[in-house]
Protein backbone atom coordinates (compact mmCIF):
# COMPACT_ATOMS: atom_id res chain seq x y z
CA UNK A 1 0.00 0.00 0.00
CA UNK A 2 1.37 3.46 -0.78
CA UNK A 3 2.35 5.48 2.28
CA UNK A 4 -0.34 8.11 1.87
CA UNK A 5 -2.91 5.34 1.61
CA UNK A 6 -1.84 3.96 4.97
CA UNK A 7 -2.35 7.32 6.64
CA UNK A 8 -5.76 7.77 5.03
CA UNK A 9 -6.91 4.33 6.13
CA UNK A 10 -5.64 4.80 9.70
CA UNK A 11 -7.22 8.23 10.01
CA UNK A 12 -10.49 6.88 8.64
CA UNK A 13 -10.44 4.02 11.16
CA UNK A 14 -9.74 6.41 14.02
CA UNK A 15 -12.53 8.75 12.89
CA UNK A 16 -14.91 5.83 12.63
CA UNK A 17 -14.04 4.60 16.13
CA UNK A 18 -14.42 8.12 17.53
CA UNK A 19 -17.83 8.37 15.91
CA UNK A 20 -18.80 5.00 17.32
CA UNK A 21 -17.79 6.19 20.75
CA UNK A 22 -19.89 9.32 20.28
CA UNK A 23 -22.87 7.11 19.55
CA UNK A 24 -22.40 5.14 22.75
CA UNK A 25 -23.77 6.01 26.14
CA UNK A 26 -26.34 5.21 28.78
CA UNK A 27 -28.96 7.44 27.17
CA UNK A 28 -29.00 5.53 23.90
CA UNK A 29 -26.76 3.69 21.47
CA UNK A 30 -26.44 3.76 17.69
CA UNK A 31 -26.65 6.31 14.88
CA UNK A 32 -30.42 6.67 15.12
CA UNK A 33 -30.26 7.44 18.83
CA UNK A 34 -27.50 9.99 18.24
CA UNK A 35 -29.50 11.66 15.48
CA UNK A 36 -32.55 11.75 17.70
CA UNK A 37 -30.57 13.21 20.58
CA UNK A 38 -29.16 15.96 18.39
CA UNK A 39 -32.70 16.97 17.49
CA UNK A 40 -33.72 17.34 21.12
CA UNK A 41 -32.47 20.34 23.13
CA UNK A 42 -31.95 18.52 26.42
CA UNK A 43 -30.51 15.41 24.86
CA UNK A 44 -28.18 17.51 22.71
CA UNK A 45 -26.69 18.81 25.94
CA UNK A 46 -25.76 15.24 26.82
CA UNK A 47 -23.94 14.85 23.52
CA UNK A 48 -22.21 18.22 23.69
CA UNK A 49 -21.39 18.31 27.39
CA UNK A 50 -20.75 14.65 28.16
CA UNK A 51 -20.06 12.58 25.09
CA UNK A 52 -18.06 14.96 22.90
CA UNK A 53 -15.43 15.83 25.53
CA UNK A 54 -15.19 12.18 26.51
CA UNK A 55 -14.35 11.25 22.92
CA UNK A 56 -11.81 14.06 22.66
CA UNK A 57 -10.17 13.10 25.96
CA UNK A 58 -9.99 9.48 24.83
CA UNK A 59 -8.32 10.51 21.57
CA UNK A 60 -5.84 12.84 23.26
CA UNK A 61 -4.95 10.45 26.10
CA UNK A 62 -4.46 7.56 23.69
CA UNK A 63 -2.27 9.71 21.47
CA UNK A 64 -0.14 10.82 24.44
CA UNK A 65 0.33 7.24 25.62
CA UNK A 66 1.26 6.10 22.11
CA UNK A 67 3.88 8.85 21.83
CA UNK A 68 5.28 8.11 25.28
CA UNK A 69 5.62 4.40 24.48
CA UNK A 70 7.19 5.11 21.11
CA UNK A 71 9.85 7.37 22.62
CA UNK A 72 10.58 4.95 25.47
CA UNK A 73 10.96 1.96 23.18
CA UNK A 74 13.49 3.82 21.06
CA UNK A 75 15.28 5.26 24.07
CA UNK A 76 15.64 2.02 26.00
CA UNK A 77 16.16 -0.01 22.81
CA UNK A 78 13.55 -2.38 24.09
CA UNK A 79 10.39 -3.28 22.19
CA UNK A 80 8.74 -4.06 25.52
CA UNK A 81 9.35 -0.69 27.16
CA UNK A 82 6.22 1.20 28.09
CA UNK A 83 5.21 3.78 30.70
CA UNK A 84 3.81 1.06 32.96
CA UNK A 85 7.07 -0.91 33.12
CA UNK A 86 9.57 1.91 33.49
CA UNK A 87 8.38 3.43 36.74
CA UNK A 88 7.08 6.47 34.87
CA UNK A 89 3.50 5.24 34.80
CA UNK A 90 3.36 4.24 38.45
CA UNK A 91 5.12 7.48 39.40
CA UNK A 92 2.46 9.46 37.59
CA UNK A 93 -0.28 7.44 39.30
CA UNK A 94 1.35 8.11 42.66
CA UNK A 95 1.36 11.81 41.83
CA UNK A 96 -2.27 11.79 40.76
CA UNK A 97 -3.40 9.83 43.82
CA UNK A 98 -1.45 12.15 46.13
CA UNK A 99 -3.13 15.12 44.45
CA UNK A 100 -6.56 13.57 45.00
CA UNK A 101 -5.77 13.04 48.67
CA UNK A 102 -4.45 16.59 49.10
CA UNK A 103 -7.40 18.22 47.36
CA UNK A 104 -7.48 21.96 46.55
CA UNK A 105 -5.81 23.19 43.35
CA UNK A 106 -3.76 20.02 43.03
CA UNK A 107 -6.97 18.03 42.52
CA UNK A 108 -8.12 20.09 39.50
CA UNK A 109 -7.35 18.72 36.03
CA UNK A 110 -4.46 21.18 35.58
CA UNK A 111 -3.08 20.54 39.05
CA UNK A 112 -3.23 16.80 38.59
CA UNK A 113 -1.25 16.93 35.38
CA UNK A 114 1.36 18.92 37.28
CA UNK A 115 1.59 16.47 40.19
CA UNK A 116 1.50 13.50 37.83
CA UNK A 117 4.41 14.96 35.87
CA UNK A 118 6.25 15.44 39.16
CA UNK A 119 5.56 11.81 40.06
CA UNK A 120 6.56 10.64 36.59
CA UNK A 121 9.79 12.63 36.83
CA UNK A 122 10.43 10.93 40.16
CA UNK A 123 9.97 7.47 38.61
CA UNK A 124 11.88 8.36 35.45
CA UNK A 125 14.57 10.09 37.52
CA UNK A 126 15.15 7.02 39.65
CA UNK A 127 15.39 4.99 36.46
CA UNK A 128 17.85 7.54 35.09
CA UNK A 129 20.07 7.57 38.18
CA UNK A 130 20.09 3.80 38.54
CA UNK A 131 20.63 3.38 34.82
CA UNK A 132 23.63 5.71 34.88
CA UNK A 133 25.24 3.44 37.45
CA UNK A 134 24.06 0.19 35.92
CA UNK A 135 25.04 0.92 32.33
CA UNK A 136 22.63 1.10 29.46
CA UNK A 137 22.04 -2.60 28.89
CA UNK A 138 18.39 -2.64 27.70
CA UNK A 139 17.32 -5.84 29.41
CA UNK A 140 18.75 -4.62 32.68
CA UNK A 141 16.97 -1.29 32.33
CA UNK A 142 13.60 -2.93 31.85
CA UNK A 143 14.20 -5.09 34.89
CA UNK A 144 15.01 -1.98 36.92
CA UNK A 145 11.90 -0.31 35.53
CA UNK A 146 9.65 -3.15 36.65
CA UNK A 147 11.12 -2.92 40.14
CA UNK A 148 10.73 0.85 40.38
CA UNK A 149 7.11 0.37 39.35
CA UNK A 150 6.65 -2.17 42.12
CA UNK A 151 7.97 0.21 44.78
CA UNK A 152 5.93 3.19 43.58
CA UNK A 153 2.74 1.11 43.31
CA UNK A 154 3.44 -0.16 46.81
CA UNK A 155 3.54 3.41 48.09
CA UNK A 156 0.36 4.25 46.19
CA UNK A 157 -1.45 1.30 47.72
CA UNK A 158 -0.25 2.21 51.21
CA UNK A 159 -1.62 5.73 50.63
CA UNK A 160 -4.90 4.15 49.59
CA UNK A 161 -5.29 2.52 52.96
CA UNK A 162 -5.00 5.98 54.54
CA UNK A 163 -8.43 6.78 53.17
CA UNK A 164 -10.38 3.55 52.92
CA UNK A 165 -13.64 5.34 52.09
CA UNK A 166 -12.31 6.51 48.72
CA UNK A 167 -10.74 3.18 47.71
CA UNK A 168 -13.24 2.82 44.88
CA UNK A 169 -12.38 6.18 43.33
CA UNK A 170 -8.68 5.52 43.74
CA UNK A 171 -8.98 2.16 42.06
CA UNK A 172 -10.28 4.03 39.01
CA UNK A 173 -6.93 5.80 38.85
CA UNK A 174 -4.98 2.63 39.17
CA UNK A 175 -6.81 1.00 36.29
CA UNK A 176 -7.72 3.96 34.10
CA UNK A 177 -11.23 5.15 33.37
CA UNK A 178 -12.99 7.75 31.24
CA UNK A 179 -16.08 7.92 33.42
CA UNK A 180 -16.99 11.54 34.12
CA UNK A 181 -14.28 13.10 31.95
CA UNK A 182 -15.49 16.44 30.57
CA UNK A 183 -14.47 19.66 28.91
CA UNK A 184 -12.26 20.69 31.84
CA UNK A 185 -10.16 17.60 31.28
CA UNK A 186 -9.94 18.23 27.55
CA UNK A 187 -8.89 21.85 28.09
CA UNK A 188 -6.18 20.73 30.49
CA UNK A 189 -4.94 17.93 28.23
CA UNK A 190 -4.83 19.23 24.65
CA UNK A 191 -1.99 21.76 25.08
CA UNK A 192 0.21 18.95 26.39
CA UNK A 193 -0.68 16.76 23.44
CA UNK A 194 0.32 19.51 21.03
CA UNK A 195 3.53 20.07 22.95
CA UNK A 196 4.63 16.42 23.01
CA UNK A 197 3.61 15.82 19.41
CA UNK A 198 5.60 18.78 18.10
CA UNK A 199 8.57 18.09 20.35
CA UNK A 200 8.39 14.40 19.47
CA UNK A 201 8.54 15.17 15.76
CA UNK A 202 11.48 17.52 16.31
CA UNK A 203 13.39 14.94 18.31
CA UNK A 204 12.52 12.05 15.97
CA UNK A 205 15.78 12.03 13.95
CA UNK A 206 17.82 11.99 17.16
CA UNK A 207 15.70 9.13 18.52
CA UNK A 208 16.56 7.14 15.43
CA UNK A 209 20.26 7.51 16.22
CA UNK A 210 19.85 6.81 19.93
CA UNK A 211 17.88 3.67 19.19
CA UNK A 212 20.87 2.13 17.42
CA UNK A 213 23.69 2.61 19.88
CA UNK A 214 25.60 5.27 21.76
CA UNK A 215 28.89 4.95 19.91
CA UNK A 216 27.10 5.34 16.63
CA UNK A 217 25.31 8.43 17.94
CA UNK A 218 28.57 9.89 19.22
CA UNK A 219 30.20 9.13 15.90
CA UNK A 220 27.84 11.46 14.10
CA UNK A 221 28.40 14.21 16.67
CA UNK A 222 25.54 13.69 19.13
CA UNK A 223 25.82 13.79 22.89
CA UNK A 224 23.76 10.79 23.97
CA UNK A 225 23.25 11.63 27.67
CA UNK A 226 21.89 15.10 27.02
CA UNK A 227 19.50 14.00 24.29
CA UNK A 228 18.50 10.93 26.15
CA UNK A 229 17.46 12.91 29.22
CA UNK A 230 15.52 15.32 27.00
CA UNK A 231 13.72 12.45 25.30
CA UNK A 232 13.03 10.77 28.63
CA UNK A 233 11.52 13.98 29.99
CA UNK A 234 9.32 14.21 26.92
CA UNK A 235 8.10 10.66 27.43
CA UNK A 236 7.39 11.44 31.10
CA UNK A 237 5.36 14.51 30.20
CA UNK A 238 3.38 12.63 27.56
CA UNK A 239 2.60 9.70 29.85
CA UNK A 240 1.87 11.82 32.92
CA UNK A 241 -0.52 14.15 31.07
CA UNK A 242 -2.54 11.16 29.91
CA UNK A 243 -2.42 9.32 33.22
CA UNK A 244 -3.40 12.42 35.24
CA UNK A 245 -6.46 12.78 33.05
CA UNK A 246 -7.70 9.22 32.60
CA UNK A 247 -5.60 7.08 34.97
CA UNK A 248 -3.12 4.35 34.16
CA UNK A 249 -4.63 2.78 31.06
CA UNK A 250 -2.31 -0.16 30.62
CA UNK A 251 -0.96 -1.70 27.40
CA UNK A 252 -1.85 1.28 25.17
CA UNK A 253 1.67 2.66 25.52
CA UNK A 254 3.08 -0.78 24.77
CA UNK A 255 0.94 -1.90 21.89
CA UNK A 256 0.39 1.35 19.97
CA UNK A 257 4.10 1.88 19.21
CA UNK A 258 4.41 -1.80 18.32
CA UNK A 259 1.65 -1.52 15.78
CA UNK A 260 3.08 1.83 14.71
CA UNK A 261 6.43 0.25 13.93
CA UNK A 262 4.76 -2.61 12.13
CA UNK A 263 2.93 -0.20 9.83
CA UNK A 264 5.43 2.62 9.50
CA UNK A 265 8.77 0.92 10.11
CA UNK A 266 11.54 2.25 12.31
CA UNK A 267 11.50 5.80 10.96
CA UNK A 268 10.52 7.79 14.01
CA UNK A 269 9.28 10.78 12.03
CA UNK A 270 6.45 8.51 10.96
CA UNK A 271 6.35 6.12 13.91
CA UNK A 272 5.62 8.90 16.44
CA UNK A 273 2.50 10.35 14.77
CA UNK A 274 1.57 6.81 13.73
CA UNK A 275 1.73 5.54 17.32
CA UNK A 276 -0.26 8.57 18.42
CA UNK A 277 -3.00 7.80 15.92
CA UNK A 278 -3.13 4.11 16.79
CA UNK A 279 -3.13 4.92 20.52
CA UNK A 280 -6.03 7.34 20.03
CA UNK A 281 -8.01 4.75 18.08
CA UNK A 282 -7.29 2.07 20.68
CA UNK A 283 -8.58 4.11 23.61
CA UNK A 284 -11.72 5.14 21.69
CA UNK A 285 -12.47 1.53 20.85
CA UNK A 286 -11.75 0.35 24.40
CA UNK A 287 -14.01 2.98 25.93
CA UNK A 288 -16.82 2.11 23.52
CA UNK A 289 -16.56 -1.53 24.56
CA UNK A 290 -16.39 -0.60 28.26
CA UNK A 291 -19.53 1.54 27.94
CA UNK A 292 -21.38 -1.20 26.11
CA UNK A 293 -20.43 -3.64 28.87
CA UNK A 294 -21.59 -1.11 31.44
CA UNK A 295 -24.97 -0.84 29.73
CA UNK A 296 -25.23 -4.63 29.64
CA UNK A 297 -24.31 -4.95 33.31
CA UNK A 298 -26.55 -2.07 34.39
CA UNK A 299 -29.54 -4.38 34.04
CA UNK A 300 -28.75 -5.61 37.56
CA UNK A 301 -29.32 -3.66 40.77
CA UNK A 302 -25.82 -2.18 40.89
CA UNK A 303 -24.86 0.85 38.79
CA UNK A 304 -21.79 -0.77 37.29
CA UNK A 305 -19.25 1.45 35.56
CA UNK A 306 -16.77 -0.88 33.86
CA UNK A 307 -13.49 1.08 33.69
CA UNK A 308 -11.92 1.53 30.27
CA UNK A 309 -8.62 0.21 31.63
CA UNK A 310 -10.18 -3.20 32.29
CA UNK A 311 -10.78 -3.56 28.56
CA UNK A 312 -7.33 -2.38 27.47
CA UNK A 313 -5.63 -4.60 30.05
CA UNK A 314 -7.47 -7.77 29.09
CA UNK A 315 -7.32 -7.25 25.33
CA UNK A 316 -3.69 -6.15 25.69
CA UNK A 317 -2.82 -9.28 27.65
CA UNK A 318 -4.20 -11.51 24.91
CA UNK A 319 -2.30 -9.63 22.21
CA UNK A 320 0.89 -9.64 24.27
CA UNK A 321 0.68 -13.37 24.90
CA UNK A 322 0.34 -14.03 21.18
CA UNK A 323 3.25 -11.69 20.44
CA UNK A 324 5.44 -13.33 23.08
CA UNK A 325 4.74 -16.76 21.67
CA UNK A 326 5.54 -15.69 18.15
CA UNK A 327 8.67 -13.91 19.32
CA UNK A 328 9.88 -16.96 21.21
CA UNK A 329 9.30 -19.39 18.36
CA UNK A 330 11.10 -17.04 16.00
CA UNK A 331 14.16 -16.64 18.19
CA UNK A 332 14.34 -20.32 19.07
CA UNK A 333 14.41 -21.25 15.41
CA UNK A 334 17.13 -18.80 14.51
CA UNK A 335 20.04 -21.22 14.47
CA UNK A 336 21.11 -23.33 11.58
Amino acid sequence: MPRRGVWTVLTAITAFLALAQLMTGSSGNGPAALWGMLGDDVARQIVVELRAPRVLVALAAGACLGIAGCILQALLRNPLAAPEITGIGSGAVLGAVTATLLGGFSATPHGMIGTAIAGGVLGGGVLWVVAARAGSDPLRLSVIGVLISAVLSGITLILLTARPQSTGTMAQWLIGSLNGRGWAHWHALWPWLVLVLVAGLLIAPVLGLLSVDDDHARGVGLEPPRWRSAALLLAVVAAAAAIATVGALSFVGLLAPHAGRLVFGADHRRAIPGSALIGAATVCAADTVAQQLTTLAAAGERPLGIPTGAVTAIVGAVVLIRAARRLSTLTSGGQS
Binding site: L330, G333, G334, Q335, S336
Partner: protein, 260 residues
Amino acid sequence: MTTIAATGITVHFGDRVILREVDLAVPGGAWLALVGRNGCGKSTLLRVLAGLLTPDDGSVSLNGSPLRSLSRRTIARQVAVLPQAMPAVPALTVRQLVRQGRYATRGPLGMLAGGDDEHVRRALADTGVASYADAALDRLSGGERQRVRLALALAQDAPVLLLDEPTTYLDVRHQLEMLELIARLREERGLTVVTVLHDLGQAARYADRVIALRDGRVYADGRASDVVNADLLNAVFGVRGRVWPDELTGRPLCTYDAVG
Protein backbone atom coordinates in the same frame (compact mmCIF):
# COMPACT_ATOMS: atom_id res chain seq x y z
CA MET B 1 27.83 -50.40 18.85
CA THR B 2 25.30 -47.62 19.05
CA THR B 3 24.11 -46.33 15.70
CA ILE B 4 21.96 -43.40 14.74
CA ALA B 5 20.07 -43.32 11.47
CA ALA B 6 18.18 -40.34 10.10
CA THR B 7 15.88 -40.69 7.10
CA GLY B 8 14.08 -38.05 5.09
CA ILE B 9 14.77 -35.24 7.56
CA THR B 10 13.03 -32.00 6.59
CA VAL B 11 13.08 -28.91 8.80
CA HIS B 12 11.73 -25.48 8.09
CA PHE B 13 11.49 -22.34 10.17
CA GLY B 14 8.55 -20.36 8.89
CA ASP B 15 8.76 -20.59 5.11
CA ARG B 16 12.56 -20.97 5.11
CA VAL B 17 13.58 -24.56 4.47
CA ILE B 18 16.67 -25.51 6.47
CA LEU B 19 16.95 -29.22 5.68
CA ARG B 20 15.35 -31.09 2.77
CA GLU B 21 14.98 -34.85 2.97
CA VAL B 22 18.39 -35.53 4.42
CA ASP B 23 19.39 -39.16 4.99
CA LEU B 24 22.31 -39.91 7.23
CA ALA B 25 23.56 -43.03 8.99
CA VAL B 26 26.05 -42.78 11.83
CA PRO B 27 27.70 -46.18 12.29
CA GLY B 28 29.10 -47.06 15.70
CA GLY B 29 32.68 -46.01 16.33
CA ALA B 30 32.91 -43.55 13.45
CA TRP B 31 33.95 -39.87 13.55
CA LEU B 32 31.75 -37.83 11.25
CA ALA B 33 32.25 -34.17 10.48
CA LEU B 34 29.42 -31.99 9.19
CA VAL B 35 30.71 -29.09 7.11
CA GLY B 36 29.20 -26.32 5.02
CA ARG B 37 28.59 -22.60 4.84
CA ASN B 38 26.88 -20.59 7.57
CA GLY B 39 23.19 -21.36 7.50
CA CYS B 40 23.51 -24.55 5.45
CA GLY B 41 21.72 -26.55 8.14
CA LYS B 42 24.62 -28.42 9.72
CA SER B 43 23.87 -27.39 13.31
CA THR B 44 20.19 -28.05 12.73
CA LEU B 45 21.01 -31.56 11.52
CA LEU B 46 23.08 -32.17 14.65
CA ARG B 47 20.22 -30.96 16.83
CA VAL B 48 17.85 -33.30 15.01
CA LEU B 49 20.22 -36.25 15.53
CA ALA B 50 20.38 -35.38 19.22
CA GLY B 51 16.62 -35.14 19.53
CA LEU B 52 16.86 -31.48 20.58
CA LEU B 53 14.75 -30.53 17.60
CA THR B 54 11.84 -32.53 16.20
CA PRO B 55 11.99 -32.50 12.39
CA ASP B 56 8.91 -31.44 10.44
CA ASP B 57 9.25 -34.57 8.39
CA GLY B 58 11.35 -37.71 8.53
CA SER B 59 12.55 -39.70 11.51
CA VAL B 60 15.63 -40.51 13.54
CA SER B 61 16.26 -43.89 15.05
CA LEU B 62 18.64 -44.84 17.81
CA ASN B 63 19.73 -48.48 17.66
CA GLY B 64 16.68 -49.22 15.58
CA SER B 65 14.03 -47.61 17.79
CA PRO B 66 12.52 -44.30 16.71
CA LEU B 67 13.83 -41.40 18.77
CA ARG B 68 10.41 -39.99 19.54
CA SER B 69 9.33 -43.23 21.20
CA LEU B 70 12.21 -42.98 23.67
CA SER B 71 12.19 -40.94 26.87
CA ARG B 72 14.58 -38.02 27.21
CA ARG B 73 16.56 -39.91 29.82
CA THR B 74 16.89 -43.01 27.65
CA ILE B 75 18.23 -40.89 24.81
CA ALA B 76 20.63 -39.05 27.11
CA ARG B 77 22.09 -42.32 28.36
CA GLN B 78 23.03 -43.15 24.76
CA VAL B 79 23.79 -39.74 23.25
CA ALA B 80 25.68 -36.86 24.85
CA VAL B 81 25.50 -33.45 23.20
CA LEU B 82 27.61 -30.34 23.48
CA PRO B 83 25.23 -27.58 22.31
CA GLN B 84 26.70 -24.48 20.73
CA ALA B 85 25.97 -22.22 23.67
CA MET B 86 24.92 -22.37 27.27
CA PRO B 87 23.59 -19.47 29.33
CA ALA B 88 25.87 -17.94 31.96
CA VAL B 89 25.20 -19.43 35.36
CA PRO B 90 26.49 -17.11 38.08
CA ALA B 91 29.02 -18.64 40.47
CA LEU B 92 28.51 -22.20 39.25
CA THR B 93 31.63 -24.28 39.84
CA VAL B 94 33.14 -26.80 37.44
CA ARG B 95 32.25 -29.75 39.63
CA GLN B 96 28.68 -28.58 40.16
CA LEU B 97 28.27 -28.36 36.41
CA VAL B 98 29.85 -31.70 35.53
CA ARG B 99 27.76 -33.48 38.19
CA GLN B 100 24.60 -32.59 36.29
CA GLY B 101 25.76 -35.00 33.59
CA ARG B 102 24.65 -37.83 35.85
CA TYR B 103 20.97 -36.84 35.68
CA ALA B 104 20.08 -39.26 32.91
CA THR B 105 21.49 -42.29 34.71
CA ARG B 106 20.57 -41.44 38.30
CA GLY B 107 17.21 -39.80 37.76
CA PRO B 108 15.63 -37.04 39.85
CA LEU B 109 15.58 -38.98 43.12
CA GLY B 110 19.13 -40.24 42.66
CA MET B 111 20.28 -36.67 42.06
CA LEU B 112 18.96 -35.56 45.46
CA ALA B 113 22.17 -36.95 46.95
CA GLY B 114 24.24 -34.63 44.74
CA GLY B 115 25.42 -36.81 41.90
CA ASP B 116 29.14 -37.04 42.59
CA ASP B 117 30.49 -40.38 41.51
CA GLU B 118 33.20 -42.29 39.64
CA HIS B 119 32.00 -41.04 36.24
CA VAL B 120 32.24 -37.42 37.33
CA ARG B 121 35.77 -37.92 38.66
CA ARG B 122 36.82 -39.72 35.48
CA ALA B 123 35.33 -37.02 33.25
CA LEU B 124 37.13 -34.32 35.22
CA ALA B 125 40.41 -36.24 35.04
CA ASP B 126 40.15 -37.24 31.37
CA THR B 127 39.59 -33.66 30.23
CA GLY B 128 42.35 -32.35 32.50
CA VAL B 129 40.13 -30.00 34.47
CA ALA B 130 40.34 -31.78 37.83
CA SER B 131 42.90 -29.29 39.15
CA TYR B 132 40.36 -26.46 38.98
CA ALA B 133 37.24 -28.46 39.68
CA ASP B 134 36.11 -26.10 42.43
CA ALA B 135 36.71 -22.88 40.52
CA ALA B 136 33.76 -20.81 39.36
CA LEU B 137 33.05 -21.32 35.70
CA ASP B 138 32.80 -17.63 34.87
CA ARG B 139 36.41 -17.12 35.92
CA LEU B 140 37.85 -19.63 33.46
CA SER B 141 39.34 -18.86 30.07
CA GLY B 142 37.55 -19.82 26.86
CA GLY B 143 39.71 -22.90 26.31
CA GLU B 144 39.26 -24.13 29.88
CA ARG B 145 35.51 -23.59 29.69
CA GLN B 146 35.21 -25.60 26.52
CA ARG B 147 37.05 -28.51 28.15
CA VAL B 148 34.69 -28.29 31.14
CA ARG B 149 31.70 -28.49 28.84
CA LEU B 150 33.24 -31.54 27.22
CA ALA B 151 33.63 -33.02 30.71
CA LEU B 152 29.90 -32.46 31.29
CA ALA B 153 29.08 -34.43 28.14
CA LEU B 154 31.54 -37.19 29.10
CA ALA B 155 30.01 -37.53 32.56
CA GLN B 156 26.86 -38.77 30.84
CA ASP B 157 28.90 -41.86 29.99
CA ALA B 158 27.09 -42.19 26.66
CA PRO B 159 28.65 -44.07 23.73
CA VAL B 160 27.75 -41.32 21.24
CA LEU B 161 29.12 -37.77 21.45
CA LEU B 162 27.63 -34.97 19.34
CA LEU B 163 29.59 -31.71 19.30
CA ASP B 164 28.32 -28.47 17.82
CA GLU B 165 31.31 -26.37 16.74
CA PRO B 166 33.58 -27.36 19.62
CA THR B 167 36.43 -25.15 18.36
CA THR B 168 34.60 -21.88 17.75
CA TYR B 169 35.96 -18.87 19.68
CA LEU B 170 39.20 -20.72 20.50
CA ASP B 171 42.66 -19.73 19.36
CA VAL B 172 44.71 -22.11 17.19
CA ARG B 173 46.45 -23.78 20.07
CA HIS B 174 43.27 -24.41 22.00
CA GLN B 175 41.47 -25.58 18.87
CA LEU B 176 44.18 -28.19 18.35
CA GLU B 177 44.12 -29.13 22.02
CA MET B 178 40.35 -29.65 21.89
CA LEU B 179 40.45 -31.79 18.75
CA GLU B 180 43.37 -33.89 20.05
CA LEU B 181 41.46 -34.38 23.29
CA ILE B 182 38.37 -35.58 21.42
CA ALA B 183 40.51 -37.91 19.30
CA ARG B 184 42.19 -39.36 22.39
CA LEU B 185 38.94 -39.85 24.29
CA ARG B 186 37.36 -41.48 21.29
CA GLU B 187 40.25 -43.91 21.17
CA GLU B 188 40.17 -44.67 24.91
CA ARG B 189 36.42 -44.92 25.32
CA GLY B 190 35.48 -46.21 21.89
CA LEU B 191 33.10 -43.30 21.27
CA THR B 192 31.07 -42.53 18.20
CA VAL B 193 31.64 -38.84 17.41
CA VAL B 194 29.74 -36.38 15.23
CA THR B 195 31.09 -32.82 15.05
CA VAL B 196 29.95 -29.71 13.29
CA LEU B 197 33.14 -27.99 12.18
CA HIS B 198 33.69 -24.64 10.54
CA ASP B 199 37.18 -25.43 9.32
CA LEU B 200 37.24 -27.84 6.39
CA GLY B 201 40.95 -28.51 7.01
CA GLN B 202 40.26 -29.66 10.57
CA ALA B 203 37.37 -31.82 9.42
CA ALA B 204 39.60 -33.46 6.80
CA ARG B 205 42.41 -33.94 9.32
CA TYR B 206 40.42 -35.60 12.11
CA ALA B 207 37.17 -37.12 10.85
CA ASP B 208 36.82 -40.51 9.15
CA ARG B 209 33.94 -39.22 7.11
CA VAL B 210 33.11 -35.76 5.88
CA ILE B 211 29.52 -34.78 5.10
CA ALA B 212 29.18 -31.53 3.19
CA LEU B 213 25.79 -29.82 3.24
CA ARG B 214 24.59 -27.30 0.72
CA ASP B 215 21.19 -25.58 0.80
CA GLY B 216 19.83 -28.12 3.24
CA ARG B 217 20.88 -31.18 1.26
CA VAL B 218 23.83 -33.55 1.50
CA TYR B 219 26.17 -32.49 -1.29
CA ALA B 220 28.94 -34.96 -0.62
CA ASP B 221 29.46 -37.79 1.86
CA GLY B 222 32.55 -39.97 2.14
CA ARG B 223 36.13 -40.37 3.28
CA ALA B 224 37.96 -37.06 3.53
CA SER B 225 40.48 -38.02 0.85
CA ASP B 226 37.66 -38.95 -1.54
CA VAL B 227 35.41 -36.01 -0.90
CA VAL B 228 37.54 -32.98 -0.15
CA ASN B 229 38.72 -31.52 -3.43
CA ALA B 230 38.74 -28.24 -5.33
CA ASP B 231 35.26 -28.85 -6.73
CA LEU B 232 33.87 -29.22 -3.20
CA LEU B 233 35.48 -25.94 -2.13
CA ASN B 234 33.81 -24.23 -5.01
CA ALA B 235 30.42 -25.89 -4.82
CA VAL B 236 29.94 -25.95 -1.04
CA PHE B 237 31.92 -22.98 0.24
CA GLY B 238 31.91 -20.78 -2.84
CA VAL B 239 35.67 -20.28 -2.88
CA ARG B 240 38.39 -21.20 -5.35
CA GLY B 241 41.22 -23.11 -3.77
CA ARG B 242 43.69 -25.95 -4.08
CA VAL B 243 43.67 -29.28 -2.30
CA TRP B 244 46.59 -31.68 -2.05
CA PRO B 245 47.50 -34.60 0.17
CA ASP B 246 49.50 -33.90 3.30
CA GLU B 247 52.86 -35.70 3.23
CA LEU B 248 52.65 -36.46 6.93
CA THR B 249 49.11 -37.79 7.33
CA GLY B 250 47.93 -38.44 3.80
CA ARG B 251 44.85 -36.33 4.58
CA PRO B 252 43.80 -33.48 2.28
CA LEU B 253 45.18 -29.97 2.90
CA CYS B 254 43.38 -26.90 1.59
CA THR B 255 44.32 -23.35 0.68
CA TYR B 256 41.76 -20.78 -0.29
CA ASP B 257 42.76 -18.48 -3.13
CA ALA B 258 39.76 -16.38 -4.07
CA VAL B 259 36.04 -16.00 -3.73
CA GLY B 260 34.61 -18.09 -6.51
